[in-house]
């Protein structure tokens, strides 16, 4: 059997078109991401049909760039992998159609990956020292989950959001405050100049005996607070941003530590777009010594949607010979 396994991975679930070439699930030879922020920012949120059109428009550019910058040739590919589970259906179909076409054309196996599974592996990709079992907090615009990761492909969801994911709330609050899109990075940056203790907003569901989340109430609290106080000349947006951000960070960390204690896990993996948040990283690290766990964050390029993480999962599926037929379809809402 060939020693090196080189996989072309494709990810088009939302508003990033990404293609990567990954060797042995660990060495990222290329990871190209074409982001659509400019398409959607004037709407303050993602418009699915526009997003889907962008994926189709750029797909060959991204594939070509991924191959060219990887240093390998098409004939060197051992398999092609794609996220076909979880995402916006109109966007997913572009990546899946591309992957099936590549599989058929090059006569190489086709591997399907779940989007959230990809995020879970973004940390396994970044940190070989991260072992099984571990606890994974997946936080992004579309997902807010606590997952027990027992071993390869063995996951148990112990907590989920009952309404908005925290990343979505960052976007909505930023839109409401006219700060721009996407909200997360903008609020992160502004918060550095603000006082996170100035306003004590709720830490939703932190006192409840479960691992679920709910952020739409916090979102309403912020908007009502701002409406009430916006004409107050002392009010600084940076303080509102920082205090809001702190409320989210405290909630995420609080719930996660509680789960780690309950399930006796000392390794915590935080993944997804919101894992790029600097306050979340800083505060989590500060808790490490206090509570005796180790927290892992992906390298910055792997926090948001990317194909390299799909390639990482796919390697282990390749070893398992978990391949798909050419009648592969999309399952946009399939649970992990």
């Amino acid at each position: 059997m060939k020693k090196d396994v080189i996989i072309l991975a494709i990810e088009t679930s939302c508003d990033d078109t990404s293609v990567a070439v990954v060797r042995n699930g660990a060495e990222v030879l290329s990871n190209i991401v074409w982001n659509q922020n400019m398409t959607h920012e004037k709407f303050g949120g993602i418009v699915p049909e526009l997003g889907a059109r962008r994926h189709l428009k750029v797909i060959n550019y991204v594939i070509e760039e991924a191959i060219k910058s990887s240093g390998i040739e098409l004939k060197d590919l051992d398999a092609v992998a794609v996220n076909n589970q979880k995402g916006l259906i109109r966007s997913l179909v572009v990546g899946v159609a591309a992957a099936k076409t590549i599989s058929f054309s090059l006569n190489i196996p086709l591997i399907s990956v779940h989007h959230i599974e990809g995020h879970i592996y973004s940390n396994i990709l970044s940190h070989p020292e991260l072992k099984f079992p571990h606890l994974c907090l997946t936080v992004s615009g579309g997902h807010n989950l606590l997952v027990l990761v027992n071993t390869h492909f063995s996951y148990e969801i112990i907590g989920n959001t009952l309404d908005d994911a925290c990343g979505e709330v960052f976007d909505k609050v930023a839109r409401f405050l006219n700060l721009g899109f996407p909200g997360g990075p903008i609020i992160d940056k502004l918060s550095k100049e603000g006082d996170s203790k100035k306003f004590k907003f709720s830490r939703p569901m932190l006192d409840q005996d479960n691992f679920n989340f709910s952020f739409s109430g916090l979102k309403t609290e912020i908007t009502r607070f701002y409406e009430k106080n916006k004409n107050n000349s002392d009010l600084k947006i940076v303080d509102v941003a920082a205090s809001f951000q702190q409320a989210v960070v405290d909630t995420l960390i609080g719930k996660t530590i509680k789960a780690a204690k309950k399930f006796n896990l000392t390794q915590i993996s935080v993944v997804g777009g919101v894992s790029a948040n600097s306050k979340l990283r800083e505060d989590f690290k500060n808790y490490e010594n206090k509570f005796g766990f180790k927290v892992f964050f992906p390298e910055m390029g792997y926090t948001t949607d990317n194909a390299a993480m799909i390639g990482a999962v796919a390697y282990y599926k390749f070893l398992n010979q978990s391949f798909e037929d050419l009648n592969l379809d999309v399952f946009p809402n399939r649970p992990l």
């Binding site: 049909e49 889907a52 059109r53 099936k100 076409t101 590549i102 054309s105 009648n327």
Partner: protein, 200 residues
């Protein structure tokens, strides 16, 4: 014995939501595979391409070019067809030729002045207005508004005719009219939604 000069090409049509239509031409003879299944383009298209080639004992490398219906039609159907064929063209280094449903109507009817119509949904039509032989306007119009908006124009509808499609495609091949496989997109027709009842 097959003549080496015979052109071999695939013609794919995913512009209808529930029909995946594949034709393989070897010279002027064609074989056909149709899937009549709602929302199944993604599931069926590549399998259909594999099957239609196998039935004629052809390899991908035997093809001279591939061709796809640009629409207008179902956005999702077109998207899946285009994603498949754009990548197919890139990976297999094949030229891609696109043809438009309005082109087919024009090719058959040689219209000077008239209105070309393609059903888009139960209530809407894609339309293309031809004025002195030139396309003047394109858009989407509810059927109920058709007579109100364009009362005196002769109307031309799309008819399924593989021969017309073959002629249009071969003409483009002869002229070297190939698509840019990086940038090419379907004909979404988003301009000109006319709903005169509700126009303010």
């Amino acid at each position: 014995m097959k003549m080496k000069e015979e052109l071999k090409y695939l013609v794919i049509d995913t512009s209808l939501e529930n029909i995946t239509n594949l034709n393989l031409f070897i010279g002027n003879k064609s074989t056909n595979i149709i899937y009549d299944e709602s929302r199944a383009h993604l599931k069926n298209l590549i399998l259909g391409i594999k099957e239609i080639l196998e039935r004629s004992n052809l390899k991908i490398s035997d093809l001279n070019f591939i061709s796809i219906n640009e629409g207008p039609g179902s956005w999702t159907g077109l998207r899946i067809g285009y994603a498949t064929l754009k990548v197919f063209a890139y990976i297999n280094k094949l030229p891609l030729i696109t043809y438009n449903n309005f082109e087919i109507i024009l090719h058959k009817n040689k219209i000077l002045n008239g209105l070309m119509l393609i059903k888009s949904s139960n209530v809407n039509y894609y339309f293309s207005l031809v004025n002195e032989g030139e396309v003047a306007q394109k858009g989407i119009i509810p059927e109920a508004e058709l007579l109100l908006k364009f009362p005196n124009l002769e109307k031309f509808y799309l008819e399924e005719d593989l021969k017309l499609i073959e002629e249009v495609i071969l003409q483009k091949f002869k002229n070297g009219n190939f698509a840019n496989i990086f940038d090419v997109e379907p004909d979404y027709i988003t301009e000109g939604l006319i709903i005169s009842k509700f126009e303010k």
